[in-house]
């Protein structure tokens, strides 16, 4: 009970700090919004990792969410921000629901490779679809909020505020989910699938549900990213994108629902500065950062807080 409260307190504090920070540092809005969008995808990955599953294909739902937003805006003229975000969630969860029937039968490397295969199929299709701009992709028209067009910095801040609210709600719901009977099956399935079945719960059903939740979050993250960046291309489904999500998930750690957002932010900052100061060797810097985290904080960035807390309470 005490732990639940501390997560809630940290989440509310983080929300307020972010909203103020966004006002004070308008130049950082792009980076902050992008990290929140990717953080949502990684939050879904956290759920799968806690269940013992590594999806190497969250780029599939991420890309679908982004292309849904882009296509609706470009071809149908639908520009309402909230409606578009909802579309991202719906397409992510529907596709995850359909693929889930197959995915829920697989574990370990087979699960990872199958998810990778599905995302690369989407990549292959998009690259060959001239109507969607092939490898170049296309631009996403700026969205409106509640029927009102918003431009310039106000637009960026509105999008950022919506991203903050979504990340807050998603993290809170995920936190509550882990305290429910179905949510508690995650570590149980990771530890001992057979025992879960012998207690009368369906492992396949539980994994299917978790896969859909992760797909919905990735779709939402993709929708948010499309509006933030204003351009989409098939690289969103490429395996390096999915790999980056896993990279950041490992960097963050799975100890808390806040970790994905923190890790995502740290990663974007490191990458931005590394790219700025050493454009040719930025991957080296990012790789070294992960290496340092793995060596010194094997449970991810989040475990820093465990050590701090342990030191704080004798």
């Amino acid at each position: 009970m005490k732990r639940a409260d501390s997560t809630l307190v940290v989440l509310v504090a983080a929300l307020l700090v972010l909203l103020v920070l966004g006002l004070l540092l308008p130049k950082w809005l792009f980076l902050l919004t992008l990290s929140l969008g990717k953080g949502l995808v990684i939050l879904g990955l956290l759920l799968l990792l806690r269940t013992g599953l590594v999806s190497f294909g969250q780029g599939l739902f991420y890309c679908l969410g982004a292309y849904a937003v882009g296509s609706l805006g470009q071809f149908l003229g639908i520009k309402d921000m909230l409606l578009l975000l909802l579309t991202g969630v719906v397409i992510g969860s529907v596709v995850a629901f359909l693929l889930g029937f197959l995915m829920a039968k697989y574990r370990d490397i087979f699960f990872a490779m199958l998810s990778l295969a599905f995302s690369m199929i989407l990549y292959g299709l998009l690259v060959r679809t001239a109507a969607l701009g092939s490898t170049d992709g296309f631009n996403v028209p700026p969205p409106t909020l509640l029927g009102r067009p918003i431009g310039g910095e106000a637009h960026q801040y509105a999008l950022f505020a919506v991203a903050c609210a979504l990340a807050f709600v998603a993290a809170l719901m995920m936190h509550a989910y882990f305290e429910t009977p179905l949510g508690r099956l995650s570590p149980a399935i990771r530890d001992n699938e057979i025992r879960v079945e012998y207690m009368g719960a369906s492992v396949r059903h539980a994994i299917h549900v978790k896969y859909v939740i992760a797909g919905a979050l990735a779709g939402l993250g993709g929708a948010l990213t499309a509006m933030t960046v204003g351009h989409i291309d098939p690289d969103l489904a490429y395996w390096t994108t999915s790999g980056e999500f896993i990279f950041v998930a490992i960097l963050s750690g799975t100890g808390s629902v806040i970790a994905p957002f923190l890790g995502s932010l740290v990663f974007e900052v490191i990458r931005t500065y590394a790219y700025q100061y050493s454009p040719n060797t930025w991957q080296l810097v990012v790789g070294s950062a992960l290496l340092i985290v793995i060596v010194f904080l094997p449970s991810g960035l989040w475990s820093v807080f465990w050590y701090l807390r342990r030191r704080g309470s004798p």
Partner: protein, 268 residues
């Protein structure tokens, strides 16, 4: 009275080995049955067929009048048969309390059929009854001092108790214990059996237990079924079965002398 569990003519072959050869057993509600036999006699095969892990080549198994022969272990568990394991099957990265909470949560999900009752709730404190039930279960099994220990680092006797507590938390009508005292020191075994039997019997759960230790069998079971080469060799009251010449010859072997000796020393 209709039997709770009714197995008729179960046969199972693994290649050239016949593990079960026409096993027929019915168990009344509220019974405490000890299953004995040497390794390979068919006890575990029988348990595995009843719990759905393997399907018999021939024969029918019914539970509460419903045929369960072809059902999946999960479905059989939902009908009310739960088992513990010879090698405890725990969630090693969770604490002892969390292990029990997982089990209770599954029972809760299976008991309430409506969608609404099964949906996740985002209300703080709604899980309080579940946590209270888990704490109570720990008390009944004497696991309170291990409450926050990780299941992966427990001593063997505690692992056994936790494994059985998890099976009982699923709220079965029939509990099958696979060698509850194997791997446990002889000082601990009666303590474990006393704890388990009082917890299980206070819930009115029917118990089947597989056991090699004849002291345990004679002390705790009301009925004993002896297996030999895939058949039921003897079935009845403990004194009757353990005194049966065939059982003494093929099943109990050297343990009878030990048992007699220990009974005398206990009396003295």
């Amino acid at each position: 009275m209709t039997p709770l569990l009714d197995a008729q003519g179960l046969c199972k072959k693994f290649g050239a080995v016949t593990a079960a050869w026409g096993i027929s057993i019915s168990v009344e509600p509220d019974a405490v049955v000890g299953l004995i036999g040497t390794n390979g006699a068919g006890k575990t095969t029988f348990v595995n067929m009843v719990t759905g892990y393997i399907k018999p080549d021939a024969g029918v198994i019914s539970f509460k009048g419903q045929e369960v022969t072809a059902l999946h272990p999960r479905q059989i568990t939902r009908l009310g048969i739960c088992r513990s394991f010879q090698i405890p099957q725990l969630y090693h990265s969770l604490t002892v309390l969390e292990n029990v909470v997982v089990a209770l949560g599954i029972a809760l999900r299976n008991s309430k059929r409506s969608r609404w009752a099964r949906a996740p709730k985002f209300v703080p404190g709604h899980e309080a009854p579940l946590m209270a039930a888990a704490e109570k279960m720990l008390d009944r099994f004497g696991l309170r001092q291990y409450r926050s220990s990780l299941a992966g680092v427990l001593p063997e006797g505690v692992r056994k108790l936790l494994d059985i507590a998890m099976a009982l938390a699923v709220k079965p009508e029939m509990l099958i214990l696979d060698e509850p005292t194997s791997g446990v020191s002889s000082d601990e075994k009666f303590g474990i059996m006393d704890t388990v039997m009082s917890a299980v019997r206070s819930d009115g759960v029917t118990v089947l237990f597989v056991e090699h230790d004849m002291e345990i069998v004679s002390r705790y079971s009301k009925r004993v079924i002896a297996f030999y080469e895939g058949r039921v060799l003897a079935d009845g009251a403990p004194a009757h079965v353990l005194g049966d010449p065939d059982v003494r010859k093929y099943v109990v072997g050297g343990q009878v002398a030990e048992l007699a000796g220990s009974k005398e020393s206990a009396r003295a």
